[in-house]
Each structure stands twice: as C-alpha cells, then as structure tokens.
C-alpha cells in the first residue's frame, strides 16, 4: 500500500465551481499536512499547512483533516482560471521520529478551471 494516495485527475471544472481535492494516507505517524500548488515549470508553492483534525480556512481555500480516517481534503471555493495548476498534498511525521523533516508527497492532481 502506498504511503500517500492522491487522485491524479485530471480534473476540469467551470469557473466559479467548488473544487474538492483529496488524499489518503496509511502512516499513522503523519501529523502535519500541507497542500502545495505547482504551476507548470515552477516549484511547489505552499498553500495550506495544518496539524490538527478539523478545518482550516484561508480565503477561498479550506483544508480539512480527518486523522481517524487518514484522509485530508482541500476545497477551493469560487474557482478561477488562475487556480489551474497541479495540487500536491504533502505530509510529515511527528517531531520525534527519525524522519521528522522529510515531506512525503502525493502524486498530484492536475486541475483546470475553464473560463
């Protein structure tokens, strides 16, 4: 079983739609969860960072974590053509594990928002 699984898409939605992006994981040691956005020929850009179960909101973006189900989501409200990118989930373990610094990434979901 892969440590982090992410639906690769591609996902195509009309402008203004609500987008839901999801990742599941198998490693219970993962305690910190991130969403990165990656435009073509660019590096991953941090969007959201959370470490507790529940929701965290930042503008049009909401990150949701359910540690009991080992499931995280990113919701994008009122999606815009400029949101078209690949979205990567990433996770890391507790500070006291041997791999506390390394991020484990999902495979990325390619999103296109059509005007």
């Amino acid at each position: 079983q892969k440590e982090v699984e992410q639906d690769p898409g591609p996902l195509s939605v009309p402008e203004g739609a609500i987008v839901s992006l999801n990742c599941t994981y198998s490693n219970s040691a993962f305690q910190y969860f991130m969403w990165y956005r990656q435009y073509s020929r660019k590096g991953p850009e941090l969007l959201m960072y959370t470490y507790s179960s529940g929701n965290k909101e930042d503008g049009r973006f909401t990150a949701q974590v359910d540690k009991s189900s080992k499931y995280i989501s990113l919701f994008i409200r009122d999606s815009q053509p400029s949101d078209s990118a690949t979205y990567l989930c990433a996770m890391k373990s507790t500070p006291f594990s041997g791999s506390a610094r390394q991020l484990t990434f999902g495979s990325g979901t390619q999103l296109t928002v059509l005007p």
Binding site: G43, G98, R101, Q102
Partner: protein
C-alpha cells in the same frame, strides 16, 4: 516576499560527468532540503541539512550524492558520475528552525543526462 532561488534552471550533462546544482535559501532559514521529481512521478525527499551537517537522508541519497554549504548563502547538491536515471527536476527547499515550520521551495533545476 523572500524566495528560494535555484541555478541553473536547466542543466544538460553527459553521463558519467559530475554536476553541481546550486540554491540560495531564504536568508533567515536554517534548515535546507533537496527533493527530486522524475518526470511523471512523485516529488521525493533526498536530504535535509542543518548546522553544516546532514540531519536526514533517504535511500536515494547514496554515495553518489553530497551536499555542502560552501558559504553563508549557497547550498549545493553534487552528483558524481551521473547516470541516465538521474534525469529529473531537483528542488531545493528551506525552512525556519522550529520543528513545525513549513518548507518553501525553489522553482527547480531540470537535469538532463545524455
């Protein structure tokens, strides 16, 4: 907004040659990282570096690879005796010192081994 910068953006090297990829982390950051993304695959962790030594490394980061902070601003990844399978995007990242600080990435160097 401060950013991580990487040079060159694209490096083409003959198989068997050595290559050095360069990064300038964000100035007040103390942890530095290298990740690799082979075309069509996930971003993979290679190594983290703090206080002039490696703090964590993955199985990928074998004796072919080395990292160095040659001065107060640069962080480098050296790949010796490059192989075709080393062709990938290499991303540098940095973070502040706290355990829970997020990592910020550069735009990567695309390494092509011929």
């Amino acid at each position: 907004e401060p950013e991580v910068t990487q040079t060159p953006s694209h490096q083409v090297t003959q198989m068997g040659q050595e290559v050095i990829l360069r990064c300038v982390p964000i100035s007040n950051h103390l942890y530095f990282y290298w990740y690799r993304q082979i075309l069509g695959q996930k971003v993979e962790f290679l190594v983290s570096f703090y206080n002039n030594e490696i703090s964590e490394k993955s199985e990928i980061f074998d004796d072919q690879f080395s990292v160095e902070r040659p001065d107060g601003s640069n962080f480098t990844l050296k790949i010796r005796s490059t192989k075709l399978e080393d062709s990938a995007m290499y991303f540098c990242a940095s973070s502040e010192a706290g355990r829970n600080q997020p990592q910020h990435f550069g735009d990567g160097t695309r390494l092509s081994i011929l």
